[in-house]
Symmetry: C2
Subunit: 313 residues, 2 copies
């Protein structure tokens, strides 16, 4: 469930006016921006952005970028985009780093469903005039590339049907590959990148039943190189995305200097999806709520904005 | 351009009646079936199939399959499906053979545009409750699998923009790989499977300009194993799909005992797309038209049906 509290009544034209006024002259009324944007759902924000363009002949995102700065600007700009554009932008940013941020790409590819991933690919092409696959493939190498490209390419089956026999046979294949430490074997990549979430969860459960250990434990036992770390992220995102995302938040809150972007990424991208469940998982596994720690460790408009997206405790 | 001559006025209900009558009692009035179905475009056939289901509570394709047999049944059943369902079925049939018919899979993946390929993937999932990628990946192995899965997975950029510098750099990469006979190198597969058609054609042209030879000649010079043959098909389909398809027809007409399915596949799948251009290419490269050879070498209802789809000479 979403954590966002969207306004019941709203007028895109009034919102566009209020935002314009908040940006007038020196300084910005950030509180006004937050009180509007953090209380509009995706469809509402889209209408506000359209109204803003129509009335003020300017893209709202560009306006926000020129008016604000730092973490707050980044978070509220991402939030104002629609989901597919935001994910396409996040992947593009992840690719542009000196060492691409592989985990962000995997997180997006493995926690969105097929239709969402398709929308991201469409948005990516319209923004960058390239396909997502070619940019990921041309900016990565080796085993990491093999896994990444396979995972982002497949238009997976999202349905409920799965095959017990296939699950049993592939549980054995995966277990044997892990025993042999053949983590980069083509079969490992084939199974993880092409099978449906439902099918893979059945396979993971059989591994646990037959061999008394989880696939993540098997992978974690090895010394972690870059590839194994990407592989682990893949398995975790498929196996239990909410638990994975709660961990990302937990890790980010423990190291805000380096990981702040991960914190706002997960809050911004999941606020209209399953942030409520992620908050519950977090609370069960930590001695505090996300709310409490964000309240204690962040400040200013950035804090106000994140708390608004986190919704009620 | 399409070769098909579609009826201007038609009634789906009348068509459904005529087809039902043609199938009544012993024997079938194949001429009636051809005169209707071979003169309806995709949207019209869809309506006829819907009307047939509504009135006679039976799927038209199943009716045709139970009524007819051999080449003619296969061709007219495929024709009556919509394009995405037909391509999904063709790929599934190709995969089920003792040795999968890789060339059919490549032909479909590389001559359809991104939206068409996406529609095929959707249709495949709805027919088989699997994704296309997982079936291709689980039923192939080695280098052939690497190339096939990469080619069918990517949601390619279909736009007009391409990058001269990338084309130059990748022309060099491809040329060097061919010189070294490193045909299965990851870079070869990356470039062919992720770059847009426009980008790849620019790259192929630079290879010709810089090195005075085409990429297909470079590949053909090697002894043809299964992988190289799939690789060549990929390059040919991307480089000039109409020329490739004209060659498939020419090859099939020369060996109808073994290749009849290729003949009807190309005619059926391209009749509403670019069969006119394929016929022109064929006529320029052979001493006869497709029409003439089909007329001479095939017979009966099958011949009548193919000639109807081929349209005017």
């Amino acid at each position: 469930m979403e954590s966002l509290i969207a306004a019941k009544d709203f007028s895109p034209i009034e919102d566009a006016e209020t935002i314009k006024n908040a940006c007038k002259g020196f300084g910005t009324d950030e509180t006004a921006l937050i009180s509007i944007l953090a209380n509009r759902n995706e469809a509402q924000r889209k209408l506000v952005r359209l109204a803003y363009k129509e009335i003020h002949h300017q893209d709202l995102i560009k306006q926000l970028k020129s008016e604000l700065s730092g973490n707050f600007e980044r978070a509220i700009s991402h939030w104002t985009m629609d989901a597919a554009e935001r994910d396409a932008t996040l992947i593009n940013e992840a690719l542009k780093k000196a060492t691409p941020d592989y985990k962000v790409i995997i997180e997006i590819a493995c926690t969105r469903n097929s239709e969402e991933l398709l929308a991201i690919k469409r948005s990516y092409q319209s923004l960058y005039k390239h396909c997502l696959e070619e940019d990921v493939a041309s900016q990565t190498i080796g085993d990491v590339r093999k896994l990444l490209v396979a995972v982002i390419s497949t238009y997976k089956y999202d349905g409920e049907e799965f095959d017990e026999n296939v699950a049993r046979s592939e549980a054995n294949i995966l277990h044997q590959l892990i025993e042999k430490k053949a983590f980069n074997d083509d079969e490992m990549i084939r199974i993880l990148s092409t099978r449906s979430k439902k099918q893979l969860c059945a396979t993971f459960n059989i591994i646990k039943d037959l061999f008394g250990t989880t696939i993540t434990k098997g992978l974690s036992a090895s010394p972690k190189d870059e590839y194994i770390s990407v592989l682990l992220t893949t398995v975790r995102c498929i196996n239990d995305s909410q638990r994975y995302l709660a961990k990302v938040i937990s890790h980010a809150l423990g190291d805000l200097v380096n990981e702040e972007q991960a914190l706002s990424r997960v809050i911004v991208t999941r606020a209209e999806k399953d942030l409520k469940e992620i908050k519950d998982v977090f609370a069960k596994r930590n001695n505090a709520t996300i709310h409490e720690i964000v309240d204690r460790k962040t400040w200013g408009n950035y804090k106000a904005f994140l708390l608004a997206l986190l919704g009620k405790e």
